[in-house]
C-alpha cells in the first residue's frame, strides 16, 4: 500500500510530500511494533525472565547474524537453499502449467486423472524423503526431486481450475470473430488462466522453501536448514537463532521478489491487483 502511494506521489510531482506522508503513515505502526517487540524480548532476557541459555538476547542474535553474513559458509548455505528453491519451482511450473492446461481443457481427461491427483496431492511430500535418500543419496539431487514433487500439485491444480474458469462467452466471441485455436488460446485462455497460475506459484514457492529447508535439516544436504540443525546440536543457541532469522528474511525476500514478478506480469488484471493488496 505504501508502495502504491509512493509511486503515485512520484508521478505527480506536486503531490510528493503528500504521498510521502501517506507512505510514512502506513509504515509507522508496523515499524513501531517491530521495535517494541524486539525491545520487549531483549528486556525479558536481560531481566532474567527468559533463560539466556534458551533465549539469547535479540541484540546478540543480530550481531551474530551480521558476523555470519560475511562468512563464506553463510553465503554458500543461502545460495544452496535459494538455488534448490528456484530450480525446483521452475521445473514444477514448466511441468504443471502445460499439463494443467491440457487436463483442464478436456473434461473427459480431467475425469479420468482426477482420482490420481486427488490421492497424490495430500500425500505429505516429506514422507518421500527416505525413498529419495535411498535412491539419490543426501545431495542436491534428492532435494530437487522432493521440491519438484511437492511444488507441482498447487500449480497443476490452479492451472486446471483456471482453464475451466475461462468465460465461455469470451471464447464464443473469439470463435465467432474467426480466431483460430492458437489465437483463441493466446488471447483468451492464457490471460484468464494466468491469475490462477500465479496463485498456484505463490503457494508452490512457500512449499518449495519448506521442502528445501526441511530436507536440509533432516538429511544434511547443504543449505540453511543444515546450518540451523548443526548450530542447535552443537549447542550454539545464538548462531541457531541467527540462522533462523536469516531463513525468515530469505523467505520474505523471495515472497517480495515473486510478488514483483507477478505484478509485472499481471499488471493489467484489475481484480487480481485487489487480491494481491
Amino acid at each position: 500500500m505504501s508502495d502504491g502511494a509512493r509511486h503515485h506521489g512520484q508521478r505527480h510531482g506536486g503531490q510528493v510530500a503528500g504521498g510521502l506522508r501517506r507512505g510514512l503513515g502506513a509504515v509507522t505502526p508496523g515499524a513501531l511494533s517491530v521495535v517494541c517487540v524486539l525491545g520487549a524480548l531483549e528486556l525479558a532476557v536481560r531481566s532474567g525472565l527468559f533463560d539466556e541459555r534458551w533465549f539469547p538476547p535479540v541484540s546478540r542474535i543480530f550481531a551474530e547474524l551480521a558476523d555470519q553474513a560475511t562468512t563464506s559458509g553463510f553465503r554458500e548455505a543461502t545460495f544452496e537453499t535459494v538455488r534448490s528453491w528456484a530450480s525446483g519451482l521452475v521445473a514444477a511450473v514448466a511441468i504443471a502449467v502445460p499439463l494443467g492446461i491440457v487436463i483442464g481443457s478436456s473434461p473427459r481427461l480431467h475425469a479420468s486423472v482426477k482420482l490420481v491427483i486427488e490421492f497424490l496431492r495430500p500425500v505429505p511430500s516429506v514422507a518421500l524423503i527416505p525413498l529419495a535418500v535411498v535412491m539419490w543419496g543426501t545431495g542436491a539431487e534428492t532435494k530437487f526431486f522432493l521440491i519438484l514433487f511437492a511444488a507441482v500439485w498447487p500449480v497443476l491444480f490452479q492451472a486446471i481450475y483456471g482453464v475451466q474458469d475461462v468465460d465461455p462467452v469470451a471464447l464464443d466471441t473469439a470463435r465467432s470473430f474467426g480466431m483460430g485455436r492458437g489465437r483463441q488460446w493466446l488471447h483468451v485462455t492464457l490471460p484468464s488462466t494466468l491469475p490462477f497460475i500465479a496463485t498456484g506459484v505463490r503457494i508452490a514457492s512457500a512449499i518449495a522453501l519448506l521442502l528445501a529447508v526441511g530436507t536440509e535439516l533432516i538429511i544434511g544436504a547443504p543449505g540453511l536448514g543444515r546450518a540451523i540443525g548443526i548450530a542447535q546440536s552443537g549447542g550454539a543457541a545464538v548462531r541457531m537463532y541467527a540462522y533462523i532469522v536469516a531463513a525468515g528474511l530469505l523467505g520474505m525476500l523471495l515472497n517480495l521478489a515473486l510478488g514483483r514478478v507477478e505484478r509485472s506480469v499481471l499488471h493489467w488484471h484489475e481484480s487480481h491487483r485487489t487480491v494481491v493488496q
Binding site: 505502526p29 511494533s33 534458551w54 479420468s112 505429505p124 525413498l131 481450475y161 525468515g248
Partner: protein
C-alpha cells in the same frame, strides 16, 4: 444411471490400471528400490493392521490433532482481533509477514532446544508452523465482511457476543476454511518431520527406521500409510466444511481467495 456408470468407469479406469501396472511391473523387475507391490501390501498388513496402530499411529495422530487444534484456536482468535482493528492489523503486519515467510521446518531445532525431544516439542512445532494460513485467512475473512451487516449490527445495537456468533464468524468462515485446508497439510508435514528428527515412536519415526535398516517394503508401507493419513484428515476437514458451509453458495470457494 447409465451416464453415472460411464462416469464412474472413466474415473476409476486410470487408478486401477496404475495399480495393476505397478503390481505387474514390480513383480517382474528386481530393482532394490521398488520391491514387489505384493511385499509392500504384506508389510503393510504386518505393521499397520493393527499391530503398530496403538504404538505409532495413535501418538502421531494425537500430536497432529493437538498441534492443529492449537493452531486453529490461536489463529482464529488472533485473526478475529486483528481483522476487526485496522491499527492492530497494521502494527502486526511486519511481524506476521516475517513469521509466515519463515520456512516451518526451521523452527524444529528451536523446538528441540527449548522444549526437548518430547511430545510437547512436536505439538508446539506443528502449531507454530501451521497457524499462519489460518491467521491470515481469518483476518482476510473478517475484513471482507459486507459493511451493510456491520451497519445493521450497529443500528440494532447487537451485543458483541451475538455479533461475533451471528455475523463475524459465519461471514468469515469460508475464508477460515480455506486457511484450515492449507494449514492442515503443513501440520501433517511437520508431524512427519518432527518425528523424523527426534522421536522414539510415531509413523515418521518408523519410516526413518525402516529406511536406515534398508527395509524397503516396510518403508514403502509407511509412505502409503502417510498418504492415506493425509487423504483421510483432508477428507474429514472437507466433510466438516460441506456440513458447516452448506448455506454458502460458493461452498467450494474460489481458490483465488486463499491467502498464502
Amino acid at each position: 444411471m447409465k451416464a453415472w456408470a460411464a462416469r464412474a468407469a472413466l474415473q476409476l479406469a486410470l487408478p486401477v490400471v496404475l495399480v495393476i501396472g505397478w503390481w505387474v511391473w514390480s513383480e517382474s523387475n528386481d530393482s532394490f528400490f521398488f520391491p514387489p507391490l505384493r511385499e509392500i501390501v504384506q508389510a503393510f498388513e504386518d505393521a499397520w493392521i493393527w499391530e503398530r496402530v496403538g504404538s505409532d499411529v495413535l501418538p502421531s495422530m494425537t500430536r497432529l490433532l493437538a498441534g492443529f487444534g492449537l493452531a486453529v484456536a490461536a489463529g482464529v482468535a488472533v485473526g478475529l482481533l486483528l481483522g476487526s482493528s485496522r491499527l492492530a492489523y497494521r502494527a502486526a503486519l511486519p511481524l506476521i509477514e516475517f513469521l509466515r515467510a519463515l520456512p516451518p521446518p526451521a523452527i524444529i531445532p528451536f523446538g528441540v532446544l527449548v522444549f526437548g525431544l518430547g511430545d510437547g516439542m512436536k505439538v508446539v512445532v506443528i502449531a507454530a508452523g501451521s497457524v499462519w494460513p489460518i491467521l491470515l485467512n481469518t483476518i482476510q475473512g473478517v475484513r471482507s465482511i459486507d459493511p451493510r451487516f456491520v451497519e445493521v449490527n450497529r443500528a440494532y445495537r447487537v451485543r458483541a457476543r451475538d455479533r461475533l456468533c451471528h455475523t463475524t464468524l459465519p461471514a468469515a468462515s469460508p475464508h477460515i476454511f480455506a486457511g484450515l485446508r492449507a494449514s492442515l497439510s503443513i501440520a501433517v508435514i511437520l508431524m512427519v518431520l518432527s518425528e523424523m528428527t527426534a522421536s522414539t515412536n510415531g509413523v515418521g519415526f518408523f519410516l526413518v527406521q525402516s529406511q536406515r535398516g534398508f527395509a524397503l517394503p516396510e518403508m514403502w508401507a509407511a509412505i502409503v500409510l502417510l498418504g492415506i493419513i493425509g487423504c483421510a484428515v483432508n477428507a474429514v476437514l472437507v466433510m466438516i466444511q460441506h456440513r458447516l458451509l452448506a448455506w454458502h453458495e460458493g461452498a467450494r470457494g474460489s481458490a483465488l481467495s486463499e491467502v498464502r
